[in-house]
Symmetry: C2
Subunit: 321 residues, 2 copies
């Protein structure tokens, strides 16, 4: 567990047990695949953010537990489906469900975990904002993924397209986590809206950093091969920056558009991107989002969790995995 | 449109327009794939059943429209995912989304349509039964599909396994359609529970007939090749009956278990199943479900829709496509 989660260690343990309980099913195959997914780890960032959000207003674990678990299930569901789409064989250094059980099982397991989250969300019948936010977020998450496929290997995409995509893919679910944690404990807008914006900004920073790490991380720490986005034709922030400023623009353009790249071509593209300063430029964007996130915290009650969230924002900026 | 839907012709037109409106999206690819799906037809059985259910208690189109549309979206979402799993290239004689746009797009389009249904379902915040029933139904639908994959080519499955599977795969969503149509118009249990049971029984009959048609239908009318289930190793009611009673049991067992069957072997298996009377035995089961469905109608108010639902039950038993 991340050291940042020390304040909510006991609650996170309950979340973990509840996650395990919720995926128990009639068929061994279902329990086995879901348990594999749970054991494959993950930072449990979204449940933690739900709990942190809830700390700002009449915290009650009973009230937020189903939501915290639901958030991780939605996230896991999207990862399982993404692994089919990206044909990923490992994630966090561990074989994916796709690698172990194939596409068909993965599709249904993803939908199963998502449907399980709906049962938990249905408990919030007195707080309609929960299902409103999450249904809209789910639609946007799919839109983001579909935009990513439509725009793959297509260099005619703008910064705006990129930011809209990472908002849909990543930031909205993180925003929902911090916001709805507070909503589940009946917090007023003056609390849950700044929390939502905080979550949104760290979510944006999180994905920008993710896209940077895909180019510069230590492969072993990342748990998957470097340059995956380039290979798949996903055009991320460093590529967009490099295409606007670098001297070898034409060469990079050719490499990025190429559908079947050799390993040398991937490495060459990575080199061009790194040399022109596009990585640093992207880091600057992430830093700006982190600063914006921390600014939102200022209007919130000055409880210890506020400092934790500030440190969490910093962590997003320095993480290496 | 089915002649049976004449009484609700105008309302079904509104459902159709709303379906088209709901799938309009920011990205042409999304609108295009969803519109392809809508235009590929389908009987719109579930929305019709929602409307019929609602007719039994203070019918109000405004109240049931989002639900009727949501039901078709959930159904479409499951078909798109199933076509990936089954690697189906045509459905109702028209190329599938999988065939035209590939697996990745299909996975996200399926999830997108499902997520869109959640936005519609979130409108029923004053009727928590709607989201309760639908979240549980969604989990069961995935369970049914996963059971089907786990048990493929496995002849050690009982009638009970088969009936549980088709309940999950098919009957529960049809049961939810008839029930929740009434629920959305605030009908009491004395109305919506018999409607649910009616839907459940015709749903069971519907899937049994579907499994029979996969073996005996006219290929052109069915819109897909005959014997698909056998090829995929899906063991349906006629196979289970044939394995219990027919003289060529051992030969059939060998054929059914074989993962890569030749076309001759598929035809031989079909022949054995047809000759031993297993098709007729399966029809008897479907008929029993239809009788049970019609019996449920007796406790409902004697409005014209009651006769329509009785005819609808009969239609399930005689349909050829």
């Amino acid at each position: 567990m991340l050291a940042l989660f020390n304040d909510i260690k006991d609650e996170m343990q309950v979340v973990e047990e509840e996650l395990k309980a919720v995926v128990q099913a009639r068929y061994p195959l279902l329990t086995e695949t879901s348990t594999h997914l749970l054991n494959a780890g993950g930072k449990r960032l979204r449940p933690a953010l739900v709990l942190f959000g809830a700390k700002f207003y009449n915290f009650d674990l009973k009230k937020v537990l189903p939501l915290a678990v639901a958030m991780e299930l939605i996230h896991m569901a999207s990862l399982v489906h993404d692994d089919v789409v990206d044909a990923s064989m490992t994630r966090r250094g561990i074989p994916t469900v796709k690698a172990m059980w194939g596409n068909s099982i993965s599709i249904h397991i993803g939908s199963y975990l998502f449907a399980k989250s709906l049962i938990l969300i249905a408990k919030y019948k007195d707080t309609p904002l929960v299902s409103n936010v999450l249904s809209n977020t789910s639609v946007k998450m799919c839109e983001g993924e579909i935009q990513q496929i439509s725009f793959s290997f297509d260099i005619n995409q703008s910064l705006k397209d990129y930011f809209y995509r990472i908002k849909c893919k990543t930031a909205l679910l993180i925003a929902a986590s911090t916001q709805l944690g507070a909503v589940a404990c009946s917090a007023p807008e003056s609390i849950h809206l700044p929390l939502r914006r905080y979550g949104y900004y760290i979510g944006m920073a999180f994905q920008v950093i993710d896209d940077i790490l895909d180019m510069v991380a230590d492969q072993n720490q990342l748990g998957k091969p470097i340059g995956g986005d380039l290979r798949q034709g996903i055009i991320t922030l460093p590529v967009i920056f490099a295409l606007t400023c670098c001297k070898q623009r034409d060469r990079l353009m050719g490499l990025v558009c190429k559908v079947e790249k050799t390993e040398d071509e991937v490495q060459e593209a990575l080199m061009i991107i790194k040399e022109c300063g596009a990585i640093e430029q992207s880091f600057e964007i992430a830093k700006k989002y982190i600063a914006k996130a921390k600014k939102e915290l200022k209007v919130l009650p000055d409880i210890p969790t506020r400092l934790t969230l500030s440190l969490a924002a910093d962590f997003v900026g320095i993480r290496k995995f």
